[in-house]
Symmetry: C2
Subunit: 412 residues, 2 copies
Amino acid sequence: MNIKKCKIAILGLGYVGLPLFFEFSKKFQVLGFDTNKNKILSLKKRYKNKINITYNQNLLKDYNIFIVTVPTPIYANKTPDLTALKKATLLISKVLKRGDVVIYESTVYPGLTEEVCVPLLKKRNKLKFNRDFFVGYSPERISPGEKDDFTKIRKVISGSNSSTVDFIYKLYKKIIKAGIFKASSIKVAEASKIVENVQRDINISFMNEISIIFSKLNINTQEVLAAAKTKWNFINFFPGLVGGHCISVDPYYLAYKAKQKNYDPKVILSGRKINNSMGFYVGKIIMKKIQKKLKKKNINVGVYGLTFKENTNDIRDSKVFDIIKILNKKKIKIYAFDPNLKKEDISKIIKIRLNQKFTKLDVLVLAVPHDEFLKFNYSKLKKILNKNGLIFDIRGILKDKKIKENFDYWSL
Amino acid sequence: MNIKKCKIAILGLGYVGLPLFFEFSKKFQVLGFDTNKNKILSLKKRYKNKINITYNQNLLKDYNIFIVTVPTPIYANKTPDLTALKKATLLISKVLKRGDVVIYESTVYPGLTEEVCVPLLKKRNKLKFNRDFFVGYSPERISPGEKDDFTKIRKVISGSNSSTVDFIYKLYKKIIKAGIFKASSIKVAEASKIVENVQRDINISFMNEISIIFSKLNINTQEVLAAAKTKWNFINFFPGLVGGHCISVDPYYLAYKAKQKNYDPKVILSGRKINNSMGFYVGKIIMKKIQKKLKKKNINVGVYGLTFKENTNDIRDSKVFDIIKILNKKKIKIYAFDPNLKKEDISKIIKIRLNQKFTKLDVLVLAVPHDEFLKFNYSKLKKILNKNGLIFDIRGILKDKKIKENFDYWSL
């Protein structure tokens, strides 16, 4: 594949595909493709039609490099939902030509690209793998709200043979500023990505487990962590809610593959189990405290932050909604505020009152540590909360001592 | 307590107490105490009697600051063995006077100092806690073979009331160069130490779990980790054996306390379980490969490294002996070498041939990554190993490509 003749089609225009589309568009002819017609139309409108994107699969046939950035979620039973990945792969299969290269960026279990995608790529044509067409895997490493510019993140690449590795290296070299690492195989690249995310999940699950233990021992976990982190090799994690479409999903992909090989991954799944339960755990703690401390008839609860992670507008699998489910009782009125969300975004999902002009809250649940909330001090909270109000500062972000002195304060 | 009038007795002269004894001796009158008569006599001999240490408990009565640095191991059933801690505490109880301060450095579960030690301290006297005598907890953070000079490690301290905290701060300030952190309570200081070690155990257990999974998928874990660590927030851990008297013991202390409160710590214990099994797991892999690849009658296996950790001479609970147990079969002759151990140290424990002049090994097990072994290259191994020899480089330390080309190479 001659890099100068590359015409790139990117399938899936979400938080991974869209930035990739714009970056590659600076250097190549690029088509953005997404099956979601509404998304395409609204993007076209936003960019006044000066954007080469489509929901028409027939346009794919003019391209020779295909990059797949579709979501890889899980089913309700926690097994991999490969619907979007298979669909994108079959679309490519229909237009695949001699010499083409297909690169996957979606997070998958190790082996999936070669075991699941390659057979599908061959389905609608007579091409031979690694002679007529080639495959690569390069995991996306975008960290929403934290590291949004993917060109500044080191990129792992891999390919189905060494010339494909070299080609994919050159291709990404055109846009990645932070350096590129050639993994020794596609499986290794797939495994590296999933290990990164599962490591995070497990470390947070350990923090959640000690937080549960320490609360039973009347020990403040935040104070313990403040002491522990004075050791040179202590790793800074905090108890909290783990939601979203990566950390809370990827471990199931690895577990699925391990179980296929008759191995029960106890460490991975025990971590997942505890992280999955934390929304309900926090909700029950809030409920108990409300019942014990507030003898009023109507209780106003303000939930600050609804997203799965700070400084994003992504509410997928946010565990804040588990808290809300627990609190959703007759005598409790739940108001929510998230600086990153519009009322319309929320009202579709859950019937809560979205409002930021709170004045008479009995309970404040600081669910997500958005930057805006980090600055909250006593005088700010005094305006929002009633006297003797309860504060549930899930991530322990409030530092003003006056807050803890004047309100009933709790953190994980 | 006036710092100028401090006379310090240190109970327990192991890898924690002895350095503490020497350091405090530079500034204070210090007595080192250990119930092990042989240890005292051999130390006296080594220091030509110019060392104020004793096994005579009667000498303790002239001291007013007691620092307890005895081991806190576990019983075979994995519950805390507090024998040494209780014994030391009772000895102190007999000599405790008004104004005295007792400081614990041994690793314990949160609450233990106040729940177990304080009642024992009151047992042989009529003193009242926090009026007549005071207690502190300051966890040792020595990392054998890695950070041996504890004065350069930040120290966490705590005390039973604020004046005791201030006193202990001043006391340790005399010897600690790296800074001192005042924990908010004794329980918090106890918890911080155990969390540090359990975090390490869990992270290694995750590495071991993925190593087991990846071996079933024919994926090289070391290659996966090389790719994963190119991400900015990936944490560098490796699969390996976890033994010794800290990382492999402390989690059981925390689990014990959690279970007392009816909480089953699944993340902590699943990590422990897998780490506990790794010696046997590796042993079985070696055994299988030997049976498959070596058709000889007598097989010489060289085990390099026996200690629980690199660059120490500590073999307590070293999982290398689990490997040896598995290999200890009729037709296998096991030879061992450890640059940090003398023949006498080993022969008491296990009947293996300790020798470093190996020439005709069929199998080399590189069990511990001592610095000396890191330098091994192909020409070195050629002298030790037979042609077609098997190498089990448990921690994956050998970098010379020729080794992997010329021998049957395996790593976790």
